[in-house]
Subunit: 174 residues, 2 copies
DNA sequence: TTCAATGTAAAACGATCGGTTTACACTGTC
DNA sequence: GACAGTGTAAACCGATCGTTTTACATTGAA
């Protein structure tokens, strides 16, 4: 495990549990077991570290979304919530905490959201056989809503989203 | 306009645009045009101020949700987004920034979410004539998802949520 | 065996954090 | 005309912020 891996892993957990602004550099160096000099040599700055954490999370999340149906997509989200917990979308949380004033963070968030939206668009077109932007938008909203609502309603929110998606997909025929 | 009104109004705007942790007390006093001593005499502490801001926002939001159908509920959300902008649910953002470690904030968030869920439950039962917990959960997810997705997809997310809700409500017959 | 690279620990930078305190001006009322 | 109440301005508290720096240990290759 490289220094960067240790740093990113520890940082992601700390950011996720305590927030980005509330997590100081000392907590990050302490969590990763490295000196502050090493952190800055590798990460450059706190904002760059946040952007890198988001980038790595995006990759890990995308790996989970390598499925072949909308139904499996929501099942994958259910697994994610069960394994990683439900504290809301870390990307949107980063955006909210920084007010959109940090370009590197904005870029990381938009890239992630674009990737998920594209994944959904491909799956919807694959299942329905046609380009249906409104249906795609509805699935995106359900996916986002399940992530957010799971914070205070638990897994049942994801289950409901999956069933709602199934209904909408079924009704999209012809 | 009382001191408390000025303080809460200015604080809500600052918290919403720049985040809770990133907004210092000096920005709050400066924004409200009052001294720090006056702020502490009225609000007690930063966390108490945050809780009060959330409480007032909940009231204002609830006033908007005094509608008579699920369709009107999503139209109300559309209005809200157009007027107040889409920076994500301020309650969940507060929860995320504090990691759920501040009881007064947790209470304010849960009270708000319970109120919205109850409102949705009443509307669903009023329109379908029966108690359908799964449908209620689906509408909650759509509502939450529209709020979150509007951050990066704009109003179309709310429109899609409204249409999805209409489909699900229509399919809930008997 | 010199040299650059990579790491550590720890002090220090100026700025800002949430919060308190002191000193003082203005108000309306008994 | 004393007095409590409410406000301001500003200094101050210790702590922490993100970041840089100094000084030193370890390593592997030329």
């Amino acid at each position: 495990m490289t220094i960067m891996d240790k740093l990113v892993t520890a940082s992601e957990a700390l950011f996720d549990r305590h927030g980005f602004t509330a997590t100081g550099m000392d907590k990050l160096t302490q969590g990763a077991g490295i000196s502050s000099r090493t952190l800055y040599k590798h990460a450059g700055s706190k904002n760059a570290l946040i952007a890198r954490v988001l980038g790595e999370r995006d990759k890990r999340f995308a790996r989970r979304l390598e499925v072949e149906s909308i139904d499996a997509l929501f099942k994958a989200l259910e697994d994610w919530v069960r394994v990683e917990g439900a504290r809301g979308c870390l990307f949107l949380r980063a955006l909210g905490e920084t007010g959109g004033d940090t370009p590197e963070i904005v870029d990381a968030v938009l890239a992630h959201k674009a990737r998920v939206a594209e994944r959904i668009a491909v799956l919807v077109e694959g299942e329905t056989g046609r380009d249906d932007p409104m249906l795609v938008e509805q699935i995106i909203v359900l996916f986002e809503g399940a992530t957010a609502a799971a914070v205070y309603r638990g897994e049942q929110a994801v289950v409901a989203a999956r069933q709602a998606a199934a209904s909408l997909m079924a009704g999209a025929g012809s």
